[in-house]
């Protein structure tokens, strides 16, 4: 039972980071190789606040989480300002470099344990806290996406130039997506540090970043419910198939290619598992069928 609860907590923690990445990649169309770095910032800041500062627990933990989120967010502003006005490749390369840079820096700062890591962190994270934050942040993500700010992000993903012509400040939209995703990754990192009670730089390297992205892709770009399903599957599957650990990533890599080439909408097909989401799908199908019928009738009418 405790084992299952452990997995549940890991799912819940990862979900927060993946929600952020979903906003950035799934809805705004930006790809980051370095969100592990933002998680690392959150984790380490949280570790410092929770074990180096002598504060009572009810203050220390929330402060740690907020500090982690803020730090990650601030760093992301720096990266965003430099690269979001340029072509997409620059942003990707910069995030890749950022992820590596964080790892190198952390490896060399002995105050936080260096490459060997930092053990014996206090365990503050509980199942209820994670669940509570998950609910809050899923609603948070939903609220952003279903607003004019969220629609503008999607417009950036669909057709950036047309979005600009429609008065969308695409730089600002991308920046908001980036900062929110970084802050969420920071929160996830903070929760992680105070759950596993041990952190080291290699936990947040590019492998972690790509892990998170894979979760977004499997669930389907542009679907929050997809993100939840994707995270659930990809965090629990490895535990179930522990014997095949080596091949897990081989299969994931292949699966990503197949998904992108065959079915980019992922598992959920870009659909939201909500009443309005499902209604939308049926309405779209009906409307399309109707249109095709009308066009066919017109053609036959012409031929007659």
């Amino acid at each position: 039972m405790e084992y299952i609860q452990g997995i549940a907590v890991l799912i819940g923690i990862n979900l927060i980071a993946v929600l952020g990445l979903s906003i950035l990649t799934g809805f705004t169309g930006l790809f980051s190789f370095g969100h592990g770095g933002f998680m690392a910032i959150g984790a380490y800041i949280s570790a410092i606040v929770s074990s180096r500062l002598d504060l009572p627990v009810p203050i220390a933990f929330p402060l740690a989480i907020v500090a982690g989120a803020l730090a990650a967010g601030l760093v992301s502003i720096f990266i965003g300002k430099l690269t979001l006005n340029l072509k997409g490749d620059y942003f990707c390369i910069a995030t890749m470099g950022f992820g590596e840079a964080i790892r190198v820096i952390l490896n060399n700062v002995n105050y936080v344990g260096g490459a060997r890591g930092w053990a014996n962190l206090p365990q503050y994270t509980t199942w209820w806290i994670v669940l509570g934050l998950d609910v809050i942040l899923v609603v948070f993500t939903w609220n952003i996406i279903n607003s004019r700010q969220g629609r503008n992000m999607v417009a950036v993903r669909e057709e950036e130039l047309a979005a600009q012509m429609a008065g969308v400040n695409t730089f600002r939209s991308k920046m908001v997506a980036l900062v929110v995703s970084a802050a969420l990754a920071g929160i996830a990192g903070a929760l992680m540090a105070n759950y596993i009670q041990f952190i080291r730089p290699t936990m947040f390297n590019m492998a972690k970043s790509t892990d998170l992205t894979i979760m977004v892709i499997f669930g389907g770009l542009g679907s929050i419910s997809g993100t939840i399903v994707g995270t659930f599957l990809l965090v629990s599957l490895p535990e179930i198939f522990r014997n095949f650990a080596q091949w897990r990533l081989v299969i994931y890599g292949l699966a990503v290619i197949v998904i992108m080439v065959g079915r980019p909408q992922g598992i959920m097909g870009g659909v939201e598992l909500t009443p309005s989401g499902i209604r939308k799908i049926f309405a779209a199908r009906r409307a399309k069928a109707k249109l095709e019928a009308e066009l066919k009738a017109a053609e036959q009418g012409d031929a007659a």
Partner: protein
């Protein structure tokens, strides 16, 4: 009688790419309420001018003034929110979004609520979202797209896609609408329909239009004023009659004697 301030004025506009002047010292005015045409052979610089007006390109020399104030070199989104919107030669709809969402998204400037309002779902969010939905719905109804509002944009037939693009451009309450070859690929019937729509839109929304087109029937049919380009330079400027009878234009472009 002094002429009223032109809505849009290009003054000595020049754009060079490396050594090539795609647009060379072009000047013209679009008067308030007019439907103006911008014509010329392919490669004459017409779309480049649109890109300059909408801020996609920076000008090399010259000025662009909108309502008397310079707008050249501004950020594209600022120019759009200032009242100049456009459609594209090769349709740039939000393909995977529904027809409704394409317009709904573009309505965003009619609301003022901030990210905080969205996240916390404060009352202003609800109030303004309702307004935006209503606005999108009414625009789609006016343009005859209401029935199709749930279809994904890229499932629309070509003619309706063009209409959707115009609808989306209208969502920003523009004062000047730039249409880049809106009749491309249309048969004569569709072109007629489009002409009527453009005329209606001008009246209903009280705006001015600048059209790039190759379909001469459309240009001659609805334009109050025409500017002719060739190799990036101004060839002629005047009313439809003046242009049709200008020997330079006839020779370089219309070829009325030899062709159809």
């Amino acid at each position: 009688m002094t002429e009223a301030l032109p809505l849009l004025e290009l003054k000595g506009l020049t754009k060079r790419f490396g050594g090539l002047a795609a647009v060379n010292n072009v000047s013209f005015k679009v008067r308030q309420g007019d439907i103006s045409g911008l014509i010329g052979p392919n490669g004459a610089g017409k779309t480049t001018i649109f890109n300059l007006i909408t801020g996609v390109y920076k000008v090399t020399e010259g000025q662009i003034e909108f309502q008397g104030k310079p707008i050249h070199n501004q950020e594209p989104f600022k120019i759009a929110s200032g009242g100049v919107t456009r459609t594209f030669q090769n349709i740039r709809l939000f393909k995977n979004l529904s027809v409704f969402d394409n317009v709904y998204t573009a309505c965003h400037l009619s609301a003022k609520y901030s990210l905080l309002h969205s996240v916390l779902r404060l009352p202003l969010y609800w109030k303004e979202e309702k307004i935006l939905k209503e606005k999108a719905r009414s625009l789609l109804a006016i343009m005859g797209l209401e029935e199709r509002q749930d279809i994904a944009a890229n499932n629309l037939p070509y003619g309706l896609q063009r209409r959707l693009e115009i609808t989306r451009a209208l969502a920003l309450d523009p004062k000047l609408l730039l249409l880049d070859e809106p009749a491309a690929g249309m048969n004569p019937d569709e072109t007629e329909q489009l002409m009527r729509i453009i005329a209606e839109v001008r009246k209903m929304f009280n705006l001015s239009v600048l059209v790039i087109e190759h379909h001469m029937d459309l240009i001659m049919g609805i334009c109050d004023h025409i500017h002719v380009l060739n190799f990036g330079c101004t060839l002629a400027d005047g009313t439809a009659d003046e242009i049709a009878n200008d020997p330079k234009v006839v020779e370089a472009y219309l070829g009325a004697e030899e062709e159809k």
